[in-house]
């Protein structure tokens, strides 16, 4: 028919993505049963979605409920699709896009916090500097010998990134981060 028209796509639709990707934080309430985390992360890998951060723990012991917090990145259409696909998983009770919810509530972002444990090994002036900076960042010393400190810090991911960066020259040897725990501001529950 109009075969003279030059096609730009294909039957497999690799059309260029024009929408802008954004980072969203999702809260997923799931039954705490074997394999449920595998179902959730399998969905992300199987459908090619991103996981930037993942946190999971049981939150309601009697009701056998766990809360998974996922930070993911995608265009608005993809984010909508991720939410719908998560809701399809049988043991998933609820999915809330905290970022969208925050906007609906007239807030900039949900509250997002991360905990990190940071081991710093050093002697002399470095030790004093480590403690001064830890104090400035409101990090706590949770373990120490004359050779090392383990510091516990809580805050936004960007604050932890910064703290890790300043600790590097002071003898940083090990970092462990929990990933993001998040919640919307205000009196309403999830």
């Amino acid at each position: 028919m109009n075969a003279h028209q030059q096609p730009t796509g294909s039957a497999y639709f690799i059309t260029p993505e024009t929408a802008k990707a954004e980072s969203h934080t999702l809260s997923v309430l799931v039954s705490n049963e074997p394999g449920v985390l595998a179902r959730v992360i399998g969905l992300f890998s199987g459908r090619g979605y991103n996981i930037e951060s993942l946190t999971v723990s049981e939150t309601e012991h009697e009701a056998h409920l766990s809360r998974i917090t996922i930070v993911t990145r995608g265009t608005p259409t993809v984010l909508e699709q991720i939410k719908a696909q998560l809701e399809r998983i049988v043991p998933v009770h609820r999915v809330v896009d905290l970022t969208v919810r925050a906007r609906d509530l007239g807030q900039e972002r949900p509250i997002e916090r991360e905990v990190a444990l940071i081991k710093v090994v050093g002697t002399g002036d470095n030790r004093a500097e480590t403690l001064r900076l830890a104090d400035a960042f409101q990090a706590k010393v949770v373990d120490a010998t004359i050779e090392h400190f383990i510091l516990e810090i809580t805050g936004k991911s960007s604050k932890i990134d910064q703290f890790v960066a300043v600790m590097k020259p002071l003898g940083l040897v090990e970092v462990c981060r929990t990933g993001i725990a998040a919640m919307n501001r205000g009196p309403q529950g999830m």
Partner: protein, 597 residues
Amino acid sequence: MTDTTTQTPDNRMTGAEIVLKALKDNGVEHIFGYPGGAVLPIYDEIFQQDDIKHILVRHEQGAGHAAEGYARSTGKVGVMLVTSGPGATNAVTPLQDALMDSIPLVCISGQVPTTLIGSDAFQECDTVGITRPCTKHNWLVKDVNQLAGVIHEAFRIAQSGRPGPVVVDVPKDIQFATGTYTPKPEVVANVSYRPKLDGDIRAIEAAIELMASARRPVFYTGGGVVNSGPEASRLLRELVELTGFPITSTLMGLGAYPASGANWLGMLGMHGSYEANMAMHDCDVMVCIGARFDDRITGRLNAFSPNSRKIHVDIDPSSINKNVHVDIPVIGDVGSVLNDMVRLWRALPHKPAKSQTEEWWSNVNRWRARKSFSYKNSNDVIMPQYALERLNALSKGRKTFITTEVGQHQMWAAQFMEFEEPNRWMTSGGLGTMGYGLPAAIGVQVAHPDALVIDVAGDASIQMCIQEMSCAIQHELPVKIFILNNQYMGMVRQWQQLLHGNRLSNSYTEAMPDFVKLAEAYGAVGLYCDDPRELDDKIEEMIAVKKPVIFDCRVANLANCFPMIPSGKAHNEMLLPDEATDEAVATAIDAKGRQLV
């Protein structure tokens, strides 16, 4: 009876007994399976009862497709039973097939004893891990007391909402252990899975309002109408009649609206009719019911139906806006939503005048006049389209079920076989599984012993599950295998001609078996035909035989399946049969399209 058994309460039994009782309580009459070490206790129970009939297949893939055919032709849940390890891995293909085509399937698999799980035991595999992405849900049962509850829930999940396959993995020690049978619950405890059946009435009202304003409307319907049950098909026919809109359907939805219906445009999509695809492209209101905007349907996405407002009725919220943005989504069961739509349309204070769509219908009729399924017939060789036209004519007026394999023959069957009823057409749409048709036909014949069940096959596809001939003979299932034998993997060859300079790499079926002798070797009837003048007699002979038949129908070797939307093109850029010269075919797909399928 001994004292001990009289003292045992009725609801105490072994895991294997629980499996059989739970199947019976869920209305199961037939299961398709293959025994092995890890399911022997269940097979022992099957041996000691008569309520459930077991159909012994020859490969677990066959069990799955047979259960799919059974499910699609009856609306019931298909059940398969396989052993651990290779039994479960062989089930993966039909599970994924059922997932993509939304077929309710319960697969019970044996597993090594719980104490051996994780030890790389003989015939062990991580069944729930392997089948997690190809099922709607799955379970490994580690407590015999939970077994009955899990099986009841498995049936509920398989058939509710958007139907799909589930797996229940039962370790051998759980099959032997004694536990308590819990009856099917009346109130469902599971709160996380509750599919929404009724559509939002305001959305439906908006949809009806939009439909009433349409000047160039089209119904685009799919497998969801068939899955929703016969009432949904009846309501669809009523709504089409009331509105007077033209209607097209996907491969999976054929039969929901009758092919003889006045408003029928034929199937749409890559090998769909010209009128269906043009109507989709030019419409101003598209009413999508139980279809999912699959890539074989839409063609080039950014040129897909550019000027229409779209209504999408689907039970699965993740289908909405997945590939194509829609204006009015309605989430709910097709039957329930159609019921509301019919009611609201009837209640419209001012129904649109017939003249509103007059011009549109004259366009549609002009497109119809192109006769896009036409082909050049021959007196010397059987054209594949002619073979199916005759098969359609000679199998009409009976209770006929058609299954297919995958390839050119499948598309020709969709074009030329005319379906008047839903649940009469079983084909592997989403996954495109060669080897689907024969076992699916077996499943259909088990459910409908007196019906005429024909597997329209290709010479390559049929060899993928040919072993199930033995199953058909054993269970006296007179399925008819109608092979359009062109000695090529026809669809592969067609794409190689279109995309790869006609270099026919590995698509010629060398060392073809003699299908007549093969049929006889299995104890079936073999028929051969290569002359168009003998075709009718041979087809009638095939239909008359009360045994399985392999019909080796030799057709033109190099026929291509048209019309076709070439890779990377839009609906209104179809390649029609009368335009498909060798040169047009060779240049139909440009370099960009060539990199993709």
